[in-house]
């Protein structure tokens, strides 16, 4: 049953979920360093939380540009 298509599909789904979690975790480390410059407070300021949101989205924009540029070089 490890070879069944159903099992393979479940494995693929878990792999995708793991990749998504990894991306989120990695982006959190990067954006934390960029956006949380002082000592952590008891809540985020609005500039800190918008920085975090912007950081994640700009990173994804950048990824797209890099991919396209790289593809143009092939």
């Amino acid at each position: 049953m490890e070879n069944s298509p159903e099992f393979q599909q479940l494995i693929t789904q878990e792999r995708e979920k793991a990749m998504v979690n990894e991306m989120i975790a990695k982006l959190t480390t990067v954006c934390w360093d960029k956006c949380i410059t002082g000592t952590p407070g008891s809540k985020f300021s609005s500039s800190e939380s918008s920085c975090l949101t912007n950081c994640a989205q700009r990173y994804m924009d950048m990824s797209l540009i890099i991919m396209k540029r790289f593809q143009n070089m092939q």
């Binding site: 049953m1 490890e2 070879n3 069944s4 159903e6 099992f7 479940l10 494995i11 878990e14 979920k17 793991a18 979690n21 991306m23 989120i24 975790a25 982006l27 959190t28 480390t29 954006c31 934390w32 956006c35 949380i36 000592t39 952590p40 407070g41 008891s42 809540k43 985020f44 939380s49 975090l52 949101t53 950081c55 994640a56 989205q57 994804m60």
Partner: protein
């Protein structure tokens, strides 16, 4: 990851797909949690313990508590930012 072994085909007791998937998910969740915790330790040490003394001060301890809460909150903000961007 070598924290779980794959049964060799044909010679192992028959686990159901559900059993295997259940085990896999538990292993993945544990590995992810450990990695996440390691990151939190690194970041909060950096932010809160600037000059290690002979014991943790009260302000260092409360900084660490806030740091853990904020880091987890940041993880949630990032996760939502990524999935609101994909329409």
């Amino acid at each position: 990851m070598d924290s779980f072994s794959s049964p060799s085909v044909g010679s192992s007791p028959k686990f159901s797909t559900e059993d295997l998937m259940g085990q896999l998910k538990v292993q993945l969740a544990q590995a992810y949690a450990e990695e996440f915790l390691e990151t939190v330790r690194g970041k909060c040490f950096e932010k809160c313990i600037t000059k290690p003394g002979s014991s943790l001060s009260g302000s260092e301890s409360s900084c660490i508590s806030r740091c853990v809460d904020r880091y987890i909150e940041a993880n949630g903000i990032i996760g939502r930012a990524l999935f609101n961007a994909q329409r």
